[in-house]
């Protein structure tokens, strides 16, 4: 298996889908001539030209709406948000129109659309640019949400998202773009939406995470093993909606203890929903309440060292696991 970056994996997925299906095109700010603000589309404009890579003005509502309309006729727009926070200026188009069109028409149409881009905090870009709205978006029936943590997942899930016939919000992280990992070479590697992955198996506690927090959870688990001989199982959701309840519950029923970790603010985060599902469906298996760690409940602070404290990290994960297992430091 080739070892490539998360960024490269995304680019490969985009290139392969553009080649596979003439209806696939990429639209967004600076995606073409500039090679992408975060270089995810680097080289694609040169390779595929103006039709398949389209630089758009700063009119997110306009071009997301355009993407939805174009998808009615069978095009498969892949729209890049330079930051996912910017979807807020296009919110009505992105969540209200995209989620309702098929339903209100009684199934006469569908929206095979992908909206992708980085959604993460921790890069000191401040409150308005650091939103992680996977919970908000996944709350809309009609929409799908994917949050890959590794290069392999990034590639396999993006290809599936583009082929999906429903609107898929594909949420990346600028902090993961440079990460390297093995990606299967098979020429049409895809990963179905809705399948979580146990990224590390263990027996003492289940840590559930998605996106960048999966990496922190794995670091924490390694340290926990080394330093307190605690064997944590790390479940990567990969896909928020559809959600792989079975894998989560299976792990919880095995370890009887669970910590949910997310980079988002706590109120009504994805992990609030998971916490409900777990206590509802695995009540008798829980030896302790479901614990959560999330960002400190405030807008993202700019100050670099302080923002580090604001978002979950291996250290805070380890502390919480200790708390759950009542291990003295």
């Amino acid at each position: 298996m080739a070892v490539i970056t998360y960024r490269q994996a995304l680019k490969d997925a985009l290139a392969e889908e553009i080649e596979r299906d003439e209806n696939v095109f990429i639209m967004g700010e600076e995606v073409a001539e500039y090679n992408g603000a975060y270089k995810v589309t680097e080289g694609l404009w040169k390779r595929f030209g103006d039709k398949r890579l389209v630089d758009a003005p700063i009119s997110e509502a306009g071009f997301i709406g355009l993407g939805i309309g174009a998808s009615f006729l069978g095009l498969r727009p892949v729209i890049e948000m330079m930051f996912f926070s910017f979807v807020y200026v296009a919110w009505d188009q992105a969540v209200n129109n995209a989620s309702s069109m098929r339903y209100m028409s009684g199934g006469l149409l569908n929206c095979p659309l992908v909206i992708r881009g980085p959604a993460n905090a921790g890069t000191n870009v401040g409150a308005t640019h650091s939103h992680t709205p996977e919970n908000l978006i996944a709350s809309f029936p009609g929409l799908k949400v994917v949050t890959p943590a590794t290069p392999a997942d990034a590639k396999g899930l993006l290809k599936s998202a583009i082929r999906d016939d429903d609107p898929v919000f594909f949420m990346e992280s600028t902090l993961l773009y440079g990460n390297e990992g093995e990606v299967p070479d098979e020429d049409d590697f895809t990963i179905p939406l809705g399948r979580a992955e146990v990224k590390r198996s263990g027996s003492d506690i289940t840590i559930v995470a998605h996106g960048g927090c999966v990496i922190s959870a794995l670091k924490a688990a390694a340290k926990l093993k080394k330093e307190q001989n605690v064997d944590a199982e790390v479940v990567d959701l990969r896909s928020i909606r559809p959600l792989d309840k079975a894998t989560i519950l299976k792990s919880v029923k095995k370890t009887n203890r669970v910590l949910l970790v997310e980079e988002n603010k706590p109120f009504c985060g994805v992990d609030a929903q998971l916490s409900h599902i777990i206590q509802r469906e695995a009540f008798d298996y829980l030896d302790a309440p479901v614990h959560r760690i999330s960002a400190v409940d405030a807008p993202a602070i700019y100050s670099p060292p302080v923002e580090k404290v604001q978002v979950p990290n291996p250290g805070s994960i380890i502390n919480e696991v200790r708390e759950i297992l009542q291990i003295k430091a």
Binding site: I68, G69, L73, D92, Q93, N96
Partner: protein, 381 residues
Amino acid sequence: MSVSTEAPEKQEFNKGKSRALSKEDLFAYAGEPINKAMTPEAKIKCFTDMVRIRKFEQAALQSYQKGKMGGFLHLYIGQEATAVGTVSVMNEHDHLITAYRDHGHGIAVGMNMNECMAELYGKFTGCSKGKGGSMHFFAPEKRYWGGHGIVGGQTPLGLGIAYALKYKGVKGCAVCYLGDGAVNQGVFHESLNLASLWDIPIVYIIENNGYSMGTSQVRSSVFPDAGLASRAEAYKIDWDNVHGENLYEVRAKTGAAIERAHEKSRPTVLEIFTYRYYGHSIADANHQRYRTKEEIRHYQERKDPINVWEQILLEEKHLTEDEIKEIDKKAKEEAKESIRFADESPFPPPSEILTDVYHSVDNPDSHTNEGTIFFNDRLPF
């Protein structure tokens, strides 16, 4: 200091210059090739469709008042020549999309009254299986993409439809209708810039009926002396103003815009001056608080699109008084029949709540569905 002028129609009325249309007015655009080329059958079809729209909505109104439907009911009555006239010049590759005042466009593209009335009733036999209601008529196979409730929300969707046609190399365009109040949604301006910047074959039609709910046009948007459509100049887009009561004029100017889209792949903005006789929706009972009986009468008596077209067809001897009565009668019967159909149709079963949410769920064979996609702990059915 005030910067507001008003639409010419309105000014005319306000200045007490309410007058019937002269022969010159009636036939001003009759000589246009697109109208010259019109067969008697085509002219009669336009008349018939306008009458059918009116009868359909009058029947719907009665049913609404009998408590047969819920939610909103926005009537198009008074504006019929816009939908019928514009649709009558569209070609096989031209698409349309509009706001929630969408019954007229539906009938105009050939939806049958039964599926439309059943939709209003929330019946399973409705065009949208009773899931969309009055604001959400859809007929994609007739290239009609709805029916949209969020003001201005359809304006980038129409752009996307036109974009797809250009992308696929199809010689067609999208016609996207919006109201005079919808021009105040920012996304419409984003759409105009994109349309011009990228040479997208779209025709935006502002149906200026003088009001957005209870707000007269000039209270909601600064009216440039040349009209709202003239704002298109900010984006180097061609534009024109249209008297909405005259189907010939509607056809001529829409035809020119569609030709521009087909031949030059350039957008156009048209402002069609028209009027709605009823309130904004059924909820808008006391719509005479914001406009006078006289104003309404002015439009009904002098500017009614059906009367105007009737005069024209009588003058041209394409129709007789008796034939007109017959058309009227048939339309009434058709509407009545649609009421019966809607009444007798079943409601969707509760299980239908969870279909048409995801294409992947509705078409399991064409998708790998894994995981949970609906999140109720238990269902009530």
